[in-house]
Symmetry: C2
Subunit: 272 residues, 2 copies
Amino acid sequence: MIKAEQMSLNTATVKEQCNLRQAIDLCARFGIGGIAPWRENLKECGLDEANRMIQDRGLRVSGLCRGGMFTLENQLSQNILDNNKKAVDEAVAIHAECLVMVVGGLKPNSKDLIGSRKQMEEGLFKTLEYARTVKMPIAIEPLHPMYAADRACVNTLKYALDICDGMGAGIGIAVDVYHTWWDPELKSQIKRAGKERLLAFHLCDWLMETKHFLLDRGMMGDGVIDISQIRKWMESESFEMLYEVEIFSAENWWKRDPDEVIRICIERLAVC
Amino acid sequence: MIKAEQMSLNTATVKEQCNLRQAIDLCARFGIGGIAPWRENLKECGLDEANRMIQDRGLRVSGLCRGGMFTLENQLSQNILDNNKKAVDEAVAIHAECLVMVVGGLKPNSKDLIGSRKQMEEGLFKTLEYARTVKMPIAIEPLHPMYAADRACVNTLKYALDICDGMGAGIGIAVDVYHTWWDPELKSQIKRAGKERLLAFHLCDWLMETKHFLLDRGMMGDGVIDISQIRKWMESESFEMLYEVEIFSAENWWKRDPDEVIRICIERLAVC
């Protein structure tokens, strides 16, 4: 069974209730091993103070959310590349174990999925070249295909790993059960990835009656994903990073007392 | 450009406005070449009368919606198999060019995706064995991965074609742009399928801001799918069935005058 100290709290899980300091306190009080902040969290108090708070509590940083969005403009602008370089630097500054990439969907007012993917790959590669110089692992997070238009045009582990194999060292994947559970190739692609490319593992659940495309993710155990099966596949590849809980839930978990949320997260590690 | 006579109207497109007779009249008045009824439409007036009305207007039947749902119970019951056999017979009775299969999601109260897929494949094969005896082609429709839990656990063309290849003759796929547009293997799997397995082609569009999981599909041209590109891939395989328009749209198209809906459908064939 996963222990609290093997868990990481993605701050999105208590996004409406906690600022970074409060989320860090929450982790410390519940014996949670790590945290995964978003870049906006780092702005709240500044990078140095964020880093100090995290290190003071002895927390690991399972990942920084997020770089990417290489398709926000119709060209791969310097602005996009600089922003990603900055994300890499921030990840280094807080000792993140990877920088998570949500790569971006279609280019603005475009139906050109193939061209969008090409631009995205180019941006990813340029960011990787920099990340290698500062030894920050880049984790491509394939998002569920329902986000292909507006968030990420990488929607399968296979495509993400094809990209990784094309680019070489320093890049891998973040496997989120929500985005990938349906994929008939999930097991085989986790095996293909292997320890070296398995950089992060995100937990939540898919609710049978999902009401909102983005903000209705479930607590582990409340949905239909066989999380423990997927965990076994990850561990068969000697995955040994933290188990990161990331739940976007406007109508349920974001409205609850954060202590209760975390207590239940930890309880539910038993079903993972 | 696709002409009206190459179009088929899936009755779901005017589900709230028209019964079968009215939908058939609509097709006839607008010079639409075919219709794709749902099984509940056939109950309205009985199978013989439905067939007579369709043949009287000289309409082709691009497909009958739908067989499948092999996972509605925890076992593959006689009830499920009989219902599918009946669907095959109904498809034969109305001279449908295929019986479309929405195969079913997870078994009741189950997280066993692999077991659900196994049960589904068994039901599909048994139905196929019967369908072969009456020469009714079976078209597996892979649904978007967001329906994997509750509607269909076949979510990629690759998996659908793996099933087809395992089963042999008499079975193929229905390619719906809504369900498949995001797939990086769309082009290669259409090529793999070839003319023999490409049994149906369904058109609508993916709206950038989709508001409902099931009932917010877009009119061709209103969304982000490069439909004409996908059509070219289909036609490269000598696809020559009808172009079936199927739009589930509770808040928009289902509220409009059906003549207006059809007029716009025909106009929008120009962007397909």
